[in-house]
Symmetry: C2
Subunit: 112 residues, 2 copies
Amino acid sequence: MAQRDGSTGSHRAAPEHTHPDDVPVQTALAALADPVRLTLVRELARSAEWSRSCGSFDVPVGKAALSHHFAALRDAGLVEQRDEGPKRVNRLRKDEFEGRFPGLLDLVLRAD
Amino acid sequence: MAQRDGSTGSHRAAPEHTHPDDVPVQTALAALADPVRLTLVRELARSAEWSRSCGSFDVPVGKAALSHHFAALRDAGLVEQRDEGPKRVNRLRKDEFEGRFPGLLDLVLRAD
């Protein structure tokens, strides 16, 4: 479940999450079949949980597109987000996703 | 490699194939992240090699779209095709694809 902390001072709606157990395989594959989202997932895998804000990734897309990509990752059960003051921080749902789709994350995290 | 049999009487160009070893993970994921192609792959997995012609699948798309879907499957190293007289027949490249992307095919062949 998403953490919903109304006291952060952010006026954005808290992000909605889908648990990997509720994700169809097609949704998971589509989420990972995109170069920007692959970069986000790979960088998150190399980072400590909750250490990366959405703005901290070096991807060649604007703010609206980036927001769309993070929504796709949440909908695929790949990323959990929470707001910390003005920042939205992220973690990769490595264990839950692995439980639902064994081996898939390892495949995309391997060097290509 | 594709079998290229010029004596079949078909005037179509022989299909071009990509070996799974030459397929980027993103291409493989994109090929599988489509409901029509998932159906084709799942039905091929249940059928004997070379037993299914392109026209034998129950998918809700026209001929041109179907041809496009099979091209995407060839480009992803998932399907090998050859022409037998007027028919183009198919086999799933199960072992080669498994060697390149261990576990991925099993994930999409599992009931969802």
